[in-house]
Amino acid sequence: MEQLIQQIINGISLGSIYALIALGYTMVYGIIKLINFAHCDIYMIGAYIGYVCMSKLGLGFLPSLLASMLFCTVLGITIERIAYRPLRNATRIAALITAIGVSLFLEYTTMFFASANVRTYPSMTGFMAKTYKIGDIVISTQQILIAVITVILMVLLQVIVKKTKIGKAMRAVSMDKDAAELMGINVDTTISFTFALGSALAGAAGILVGIYYNSINPLMGVLPGLKAFVAAVFGGIGIIPGAMLGGYVIGIIEVFVSGYGYSMYRDAVVFAILILILIVRPAGLLGKNTGEKV
């Protein structure tokens, strides 16, 4: 029983990270129907910015978090502006290849400047390094921090999407871009804003992973990125609560699979879930199936 709870706690930590990344995928897919492969590398860059802030500049955790989110926001907007906007009306495959191209560009540019070596986050001290024991269950400050920050960001996101004007614009554009434009919504700004939001969340996920797992490298985004995408599909791509749910579910499943001795197969399990979900319920857990009109 205690082991079970421990697994769930660990799963929530990992799931939080997936959920934060998945939100970016799902929002971008929802609005321009693009699997933004570069998203996972924004997360990686976020981790690197956090590293620079904390270990080179000696900043504290919170300022570093904000710096990393800010940098990623700018990066996300820039990528959309330069690489994706010219392809808005191109074929899906062209857009997807561009996304892969941007992804490779970010990875290898980082590798060029920061080398392919693994970097280690400064080890946490004092309050940040504390662990709490309840019976046999261990919770670290970092885990609490991850969970709390994730929840705060998600609530913020929900408020932005549901309550603000730009949020309404986002929902309108994702429903029907042309109609939204006719209603006087600035589609370009709205799409930029969507990238900004998603990238900020990815940046946060990057630094949180940094303090949780300590080591980072230029290709660290690839696998979590794919899994976060699986999470987004799992919950129903384009649906924000779906991405959160999917993130947590995938995180917990992954921890369980490793916890019970099949850690070598944990990635395979995630992909198997993906294929299963796609076949059984391609619209995802919270999505609606829609057919093509003839």
Partner: protein, 323 residues
């Protein structure tokens, strides 16, 4: 009419023999040295991979990001067979078995996932190839896990390469010029209309996957036999992307485009061999720039054909008289 056909056929045969002979000459005079030979092999393998992926993605319109998975099955099957039977017969059996195994997996994977469209299919095939890779890593006792297989006997040389490359191109081209090939293309154009015109779309999608996987299996087998050494990570997501990039760069729906792009990318990549990071950055930039400025690829869906050269020749010969 008959005369023209025969003329075309003869020209084609001459062209093919010439291509073979020229490279053979360059190899035997050592102008293509050991180092360039590796490039040559890479080009040939990439041509097979790209042409077969083009059948799936470019002609049938089914977006696949898992071609490296099929390739890895061919590579491992052939390696395991030739390591036990290190003869030319073992090699040929290995290539054949590799192709058949890949086709089998293509079929098994294709059947359920082909209900998916577009991006969803891409992601499902990506997941599938990742699963294949992870299985190879974990089948320690057979595949030696992540460390991979070493000392695979080498049987691949230019004549064999040529046979397989020319064979793949010829068969896929022939297929596409038949009613079965047109059925595949119709699916790409409009699946609902194709189905309404009596085309069993599921059958042809699965067929495209099976033939595509079969050829990728051959490519994998040739790879393992030439480069001695394989490991699961060679056949990851990045390899699938590599193949897709060749196809898209050459033009979706253009076989000659795939061939051209495979040669072009290999040359560029060989040139930057010693700066791996810069090479990848450039590669990424080229990708983005081409997608923005020429998303249909170098040739679009057009083909370079011998008759085109004929027409060009006539144009030069007769000036503007010939229309």
């Amino acid at each position: 009419m008959r005369g023209i056909l025969n003329k075309q056929l003869t020209q084609r045969i001459i062209f093919m023999l010439l291509a073979y002979a020229i490279v053979q000459l360059l190899v035997s005079t050592n102008i293509i040295n050991a180092y360039l030979q590796a490039t040559l092999v890479t080009i040939c393998i990439n041509i097979i991979l790209a042409v077969s992926l083009n059948l799936i993605t470019g002609f049938t319109g089914q977006f696949s990001l898992g071609h490296a998975g099929f390739m890895s099955i061919g590579a491992y099957t052939c390696a395991l067979i030739t390591m036990r039977v290190p003869t030319i017969a073992g090699f040929l059996a290995g290539v054949l078995m590799g192709a058949v195994m890949a086709a089998l997996v293509g079929f098994l994977v294709g059947l359920p996932t082909l209900r998916l469209r577009g991006d969803y299919l891409a992601i499902a095939t990506l997941g599938m190839s990742e699963i294949i890779r992870i299985v190879f890593i974990n089948l320690d006792s057979i595949t030696n896990g992540a460390a991979g297989l070493n000392d695979i006997p080498r049987f691949v040389n230019w004549p064999w390469l040529y046979v397989f490359v020319a064979g793949t191109i010829l068969l896929i081209r022939n297929l596409l010029k038949s009613s079965h090939g047109r059925a595949c293309i119709a699916i790409r154009e409009d699946e609902i209309a194709a189905e309404a015109m009596g085309i069993n779309t599921t059958k042809y999608k699965v067929l495209a996957f099976i033939i595509g996987a079969f050829c990728a299996g051959i490519a994998g087998a040739l790879y393992s036999s030439y480069f001695y050494y394989i490991k699961p990570d060679l056949f990851g997501f990045l390899k699938s992307v590599d193949i897709l990039v060749i196809v898209v760069l050459g033009g979706l729906g253009s076989i000659s485009g795939s061939v051209l792009a495979a040669v072009l990318l290999a040359v560029v990549s060989t040139y930057f061999q010693s700066f791996p990071e810069i090479r990848m950055i450039l590669y990424a930039l080229i990708l983005v720039i081409i997608m923005i400025f020429r998303p249909q690829g170098l040739l679009g869906s057009k083909e370079i054909s011998i008759s085109m050269f004929n027409r060009m020749g006539k144009l030069f010969a007769f000036g503007k008289g010939e229309k």
